[in-house]
Symmetry: C2
Subunit: 282 residues, 2 copies
């Protein structure tokens, strides 16, 4: 399938890493960045993530594919404007929520040009300097409500994600947002709360620094994540996140109750049940 | 400092990895294993972790250093018996709790031969097949209440841990157990509870398997850990773990309250506060 001229709106961790990987895999006939922050724009060009940075309208006009990789609150506002500007370009987004995105352009005359996607990869860092090579490989990308998109747009989007090494899944946006709350969003909440717990209890930074083991680092790593990205995700997926957060608090209360009552047989059972995650994650 | 004949009691993840690393760094003039499980004993010899497996008494008699690496409930019972058997051997343990261990041998005529240590490294796997090379490197080891131990025992123990690449910290057992609850034990509780949450909510194993991102895997990884090791740790460090678990539940409730009340400014603040962990972990 032919390589295309690509515009990437938001050249941060996700947009920048997509740029690197699309170039690497020969999918891009040039990449134009669109970037609000002039500092990020300069860095993105310096780092070779994009060939140049242009205003949104000009970038869309000169491209065949437009990829949106901004925080999901901005994305909901941006997506209809982008569709207003496209003629025949393919548009897809990389946002972590899908229902509000799809609702925002429901009935738009250019709805067909848009493919709702969520490539499930990220790190706790942000900005163009956080972009890394070989990102996305062997990770899942979810495509939502593809029946509402034009066949050629879906086809190229699928092809591009396959080329960069992702395995494709399709589901409707409602199901996506539910599953994303379970396997991604709740992990971030627990990690943020764990960091706050330790920062509250352990007043000796030096002790954390010196004693922190690999286990602590892995559970608290996500707590470094950018609020500008995560607050809008939690807003847009509020009901699902609240539901799973309530369940999580009640699971933690079971551990608390075991300890309070010194019911160590039940504690053993709770841990054995948790071990079942091995069956799934290997 | 001279290499010594070493007995390792419990040749699993920790004991086995210590055996590999002590051999690698030239600290061992032979390693004898002591292992209740005949299956693990056979594996430990097959894997070359130990030269042979012998009964406890014989192993101690033929060694200059005895390292205890069994679950902490067994350790508390075992330690006084080991001290009953030693003449001039150095004894140290690798347990994740220290106060009960030290109390168990307070006033023992051979108390001086024992050095209470906690090398802060581990993985979520267990058994001799889980032993890995180069474990412990660049991690912290805590030595507790060293004033109660003989100088020569502390000296060799310190030297051995330095040789295998660990940085040494000293603190009293009460402080150790408190800090360990903050930077290690709570991470395991949150991870077990997160696994149970997702297994409870997400009835589609396939969805977890396919969608699980790096973030999910890193927060839930510890949930694979062995209950035989962790239940006794939580028992022995119950008060500290309960204290930090209560704080953690109250931190999670703040996230819940933000979402319920749609107070996204406060949510932003909570996440910014969690980001302070960057300052400590880099």
């Amino acid at each position: 399938m032919e390589r295309k001229k690509i515009a990437i709106v938001g050249v941060g961790l996700i947009g920048g890493s997509l740029a690197l990987q699309l170039n690497e895999k020969g999918m891009a006939a040039g990449i134009i960045g669109v970037e609000k922050s002039s500092e990020h724009a300069t860095r993105a060009v310096e780092l070779g993530l994009v060939d140049e940075v242009l205003p949104l309208e000009e970038a869309i006009e000169r491209s065949e594919v437009v990829i949106l990789a901004v925080p999901v609150d901005q994305m909901v506002a941006l997506l209809p404007k982008v569709l207003d500007l496209v003629t025949n370009q393919i548009v897809f987004d990389a946002g972590s929520t899908k229902e509000q995105m799809i609702n925002a352009v429901s009935g738009h005359p250019k709805r067909g040009r848009y493919v709702a996607t969520h490539p499930m990869w990220g790190t706790e860092y942000s900005g163009p300097q956080a972009a890394v090579k070989n990102a996305f490989e062997n990770k899942a990308v979810v495509l939502c409500n593809t029946a509402e998109s034009d066949a050629d747009a879906v086809e190229w989007t699928r092809f591009a994600y396959k080329k960069i090494g992702m395995h494709l899944l399709e589901m409707n946006a409602v199901a996506h947002d539910l599953h994303a709350a379970y396997v991604s969003h709740i992990s971030h909440i627990t990690s943020f709360a764990l960091a706050n717990t330790v920062l509250e209890k352990e007043r000796e930074d030096q002790a954390i620094f010196e004693l922190a083991s690999g286990g602590f680092e892995s559970t608290v790593r996500l707590a470094k994540s950018n609020p500008a990205m995560w607050v809008p995700i939690f807003m847009q997926n509020r009901d699902n996140v609240l539901d799973v957060l309530n369940e999580h608090i009640s699971q933690l209360r079971k551990f608390k109750s075991c300890l309070e009552k010194e019911n160590y047989d039940y504690l053993q059972e709770l841990i054995e049940n948790a071990n079942r995650i091995r069956r799934i994650l290997g």
